[in-house]
Point group: C2
Chain length 328, copies 2
């Protein structure tokens, strides 16, 4: 499979809830073109699938590549997914139902397509071109509204049977801890995601312990975004810094279990929170992970901040598609 002749290109696609990004690469993995569009998922699934095809077509146009020259397409998508069929089952942020992503793209571009979880694609991108380059084993953790995790072990993405796994956000760090969105208690996500941080910060603002935050965002957690948290810490809101450091240290505790199991050489941290406050997250995660990991593994890993930003998913999806489709 895969049309890997000299002028063939590989497409990487990042399907987000609000934005989507297509990138086109030649065989040497140099970027030839890209296109960014709005997802507008509320216009329905069929319109959405059409917009995805158009977004890729525009990226090909930008690179001067005819449709027929695509060797393969990799798509990083939010879950839950049927990985083998390349179907988005019922992604909560898109509102679609059983979207036949792989089939749609294969028909439109007459080439094989591979669908993978967006976090896995991002971790694979960092492994190929970012903070995890050449690592034997990379564990990636992306704290946000969820806390996504992924693992690339000896060049392969660790995945479940027909779904994505490495769900580090749902490993239990606190027995009988706070309720998690998944329905369990004490998951890492429940104590350290963006909502947990924003809720604690809004309470600090309400109590008068975070005057800058209160002035900028009030006490509405929907307004307490990563950038406001970072600005508030910079402006001297010590309570907010303590809250963020505590969340980061929980993330380090969660990571210590993943390190005990996989003994990675690199742990990559990414996502909006980490991008806004890279030093705090890197420091606290590393400190807590080293403190809780089995002593024998304490010096085996480094903690690094992701390098590819918003491009990681599209890069990783394209590279994984090529890896999978040319090794068959």
């Amino acid at each position: 499979m895969g049309n890997d002749k000299n002028n063939a290109v590989w497409v990487g696609f990042d399907l987000g809830a609000t934005k989507m990004l297509a990138k086109v690469y030649n065989g040497g993995f140099n970027e030839l073109g890209r296109n960014k569009s709005k997802t507008r998922s509320n216009q329905g699934m069929d319109a959405g699938l059409q917009r995805i095809v158009e977004c890729i077509r525009k990226a090909l146009d930008a690179g001067g590549v005819p449709d027929g020259n695509v060797a393969g397409i990799g798509v990083g998508s939010p879950g839950p997914l049927d990985l083998d069929k390349g179907v988005l089952l019922s992604p909560p942020n898109l509102g679609w139902d059983n979207a036949p992503l792989k089939k749609t793209l294969e028909k439109a571009f007459k080439c094989p397509a591979v669908v993978l979880n967006d976090v896995d694609a991002g971790v694979y991108g960092e492994y190929r071109q970012g903070a995890g380059r050449k690592a034997r084993c990379v564990v990636g953790v992306f704290p946000g509204t969820g806390i996504g995790g992924g693992c690339v072990y000896e060049g392969r993405i660790i995945r479940g049977g027909n779904k994505s796994c490495f769900e580090i956000g749902h490993c239990r760090v606190l027995p009988d801890g706070p309720l998690c969105g998944c329905g369990r208690r004490g998951c890492l996500e429940a104590v350290a995601n963006r909502l947990a941080i924003a809720a604690a910060a809004s309470a600090a603002a309400y109590r008068g312990e975070a005057p800058y935050l209160l002035a900028q965002a009030g006490t509405d957690i929907a307004k307490i975004r990563s950038s406001v948290l970072a600005a508030s810490i910079k402006a001297g809101d010590k309570a907010v810094e303590r809250i963020v450091r505590m969340a980061a240290s929980w993330i380090g505790v969660g990571i210590s279990s993943a390190v005990n199991l996989m003994n990675p050489d690199v742990v990559v941290l990414g996502g909006g929170l980490v991008e806004a406050m890279p030093d705090i997250f890197r420091e606290e995660v590393e400190r807590a992970a080293r403190e809780h990991v089995m002593p024998e593994f304490e010096k085996d890993f480094k903690v690094a901040v992701a390098e590819l930003g918003d491009d990681a998913v599209a890069i990783g999806a394209a590279a994984w598609a090529r890896e999978i489709l040319t090794s068959k």
Copy 2:
């Protein structure tokens, strides 16, 4: 590498602190011969290495196989190990120092040898011929004095750079919990290994809550072995049953994190405690793991009791040696 001609055989070796076992297989993986000997590690490293060679030689003799017909040897050994060099660094239960296992065997039998962690070998054995046959991903957990863990993912043993990993016994299940032998607090091993169970059971005996146990073993934890615990439960010591069930349920909590990360199809439980009380362990581990794992993964795995008993390590070591040495 590897002499895989028709009459060539594969040797699997299980190096234990008190006993060692060599097994000889033909190319179709039928057992031709075996030998069991005492390790007698206190006679020193050189004598110990010599006894290992003799044990293998006796197994070859038992199978009527000349020394020169060995295609490869796999050795399952307690850690810590230098996996690449095949050296036992400083195994706590053997008292040796930098034992050159791989080199000794390669010289004695003029064939390649592969050294792997004994738990990994046991899990691989169960994957090849036991409770994890044909699974895409097997997680193995062996509660004993330690709580060993291993994972076979898509046919490969998950290992660290040059050491064994999947150290599920040192994943933290209880923040600020009891001190673990590794120096950390709240590790799974600290709340659920044989010593934790024996200590709680001896206290119950002391308090008069476990009359059968008290009569059989007193309150000395060194005398409270797996078989005594099983007999005490059978005789009606309800307090002992509660203690064992609680430990098993902690093991289920630890396993839930491994399931969230790896999404295995089978979790295999083995070792002396599980062999003595298979129903209690299978039930409680499964119940707790299902209760704590991310709901999406709740039905993806089964919990099974190991099938190969004391043979698992030697079988797995031989099969892994063949896998590694013939796929190079």
